[in-house]
Subunit: 234 residues, 2 copies
Amino acid sequence: MTMARKILIIEDDVQMQRFLQVLLTGHGYETCCVTNARDGILMAAEAEPVIILLDLGLPDGDGLTVVTKIREWSEVPVVVISARDQENDKVRALDCGADDYLTKPFGSKELLARIRVALRHVKFQGQPQKARFEWGDWIIDFSQRLVWRRGELVHLTPTEYRILQLLVSHNGKVLTYRQILKEVWGNAHTDQNHYVRVHMAQLRHKLEDNPAQPRYLLTEMGIGYRFQFETPEP
Amino acid sequence: MTMARKILIIEDDVQMQRFLQVLLTGHGYETCCVTNARDGILMAAEAEPVIILLDLGLPDGDGLTVVTKIREWSEVPVVVISARDQENDKVRALDCGADDYLTKPFGSKELLARIRVALRHVKFQGQPQKARFEWGDWIIDFSQRLVWRRGELVHLTPTEYRILQLLVSHNGKVLTYRQILKEVWGNAHTDQNHYVRVHMAQLRHKLEDNPAQPRYLLTEMGIGYRFQFETPEP
DNA sequence: GCCAGTCTTTACAACATCTTGATACGTCTT
DNA sequence: AAGACGTATCAAGATGTTGTAAAGACTGGC
C-alpha cells in the first residue's frame, strides 16, 4: 500500500531545507527540494507531490504568487512556513489558497501533525488533477497556461482558457450553462447563456478540426457542454 | 443564496463565546452556542453545522473526546481554539481529527481566514458516489448523464432522459401519468397524458430490442408506467 | 487619445426537440 | 363480434435551442 507520499519543499534557506528533508524522510516521506518560486511552480506540476511545504521568503518573487499559480490547476495542500508572524501575512496566504500557516520557529511534531491533517484532506478528494493534459493532437499545460495543437501554440483569451480549463478538469461530465456561467462570470450572470455559446464557438474554431462537428467540445442540448477526452467506454 | 453556513461554537468562557458570536454573525455566518462537551456532541449531530469551533478547556471532560466522538460519524471541519500552547496538545488534537488549532489570544482576521480554508475543504468533498445503473445490455451513468446500449452510446433528448431517470430511480414502482407529468413538465400540464405516451414510445424505440413488446419500460394499463430492472421473483 | 485585443450584444439561419392531431392497434366488456 | 376505451405510432408544424457572424462597447497599454 505504498501510496505516493512525495512532499515538495520550496525553501531557500539551505539549513532549514536540510532539516525538513531529514525530518520528513525520517518519517517515511519522499522529498523533493527547490529553492525558488519558478522551480517551485514547475516542480509542483512535474513531480506531482501530495503536499507542498512553502517558505514565503523566496529570492525570486513573492511566495503568494506560487500558491496562486498552483491553485489555477491543482488542489494539492500547501502548508506555508514563514518567519513572518504578522496576522495580515497569514490571512493573505490562506486566502490565496494555502491550507495552513506555520510560523518559524515551529516544533517538528506539530509540523508532522499538520502534514497528517493535510493528508487526511487529500484522501477524501477525487482524482488528483494533472498539470498536463494530452490527447490526440492537443496538449494543455495548466501550470504554464499554454495550449498546443499539432505542435503549434494556440492563443486563447482569458475567458476561452477559463472555459476550456473548466470543461477539461471535469472531463466527461456535463456542465450546465449555469455552472459554467457561475464559475467564469460569477453569480450575477447565470442567465446569459449566449455568453457561453459565443465563446464556445470561438474555442471550437481554434481547437476543433471541424468546428461544425466537434469531436471533443460537445453540446448537450438543453443542458450545457461536455468535454470528452475520448469516446467514452462503459 | 443563503447557503447553510451555520457554525457551532463549543466554548464555556462566556466572554469569549459572545466575542465569537458577534464576530461570526457580523461576517454573515449563523451561529449556535453550547458550553459543554455533552451538548457539543449533541448539537454537532442536531444542528448540522458546516464548521465547529471547539475550545479544549471544557468543564465536563476533555475537548479531545468531543473531536473523537464527532469523527465517528462526521467529517465536518473542527477548528480547535485553546489557551494551551504546548506542542503536545496541538499534536494530540490534530491527530484526534481536528483540522486546525489556534492558540489564544488569536487575531479575529486569522480566525476568519482559517474558517474560509475549512469551508474550501468542505466544498471539494463532493459526493464520490458513482451513480451507475447496469443491467442486461444497458448502462446508465447518471453522473455523466450517458446511456449505453450494447456498448453503443445512445443519444437521449432532455425529456427522454428525464423520464428514464425518473422511472429508473423508482425502480419497480409504478409511476402514474400524473406523477411523471408533474416531475417532467411541471404542475401546469398534469392532464396531457399524451405527452408521456409519445416520449415513452421514443424511449422504447431507442432502448428496447422490441419496442412493441418492451422488457423493461412497462405499461401499467390505466395507471402509468413502470421500469423493471429485472423480472421480479415470485 | 488611439490602437489592438477582448468581451458583450444583437440578429438570424440552421437545427433539434416538442407538441399536436390523425390513425392504427390492443384488450376488455357486453 | 362490435363497441368502448386506453395505448402505440407516425409525421407535420410549432416551438425552442444552438451556431455563427458581425457590429458596438469596453479595456489596458502606449
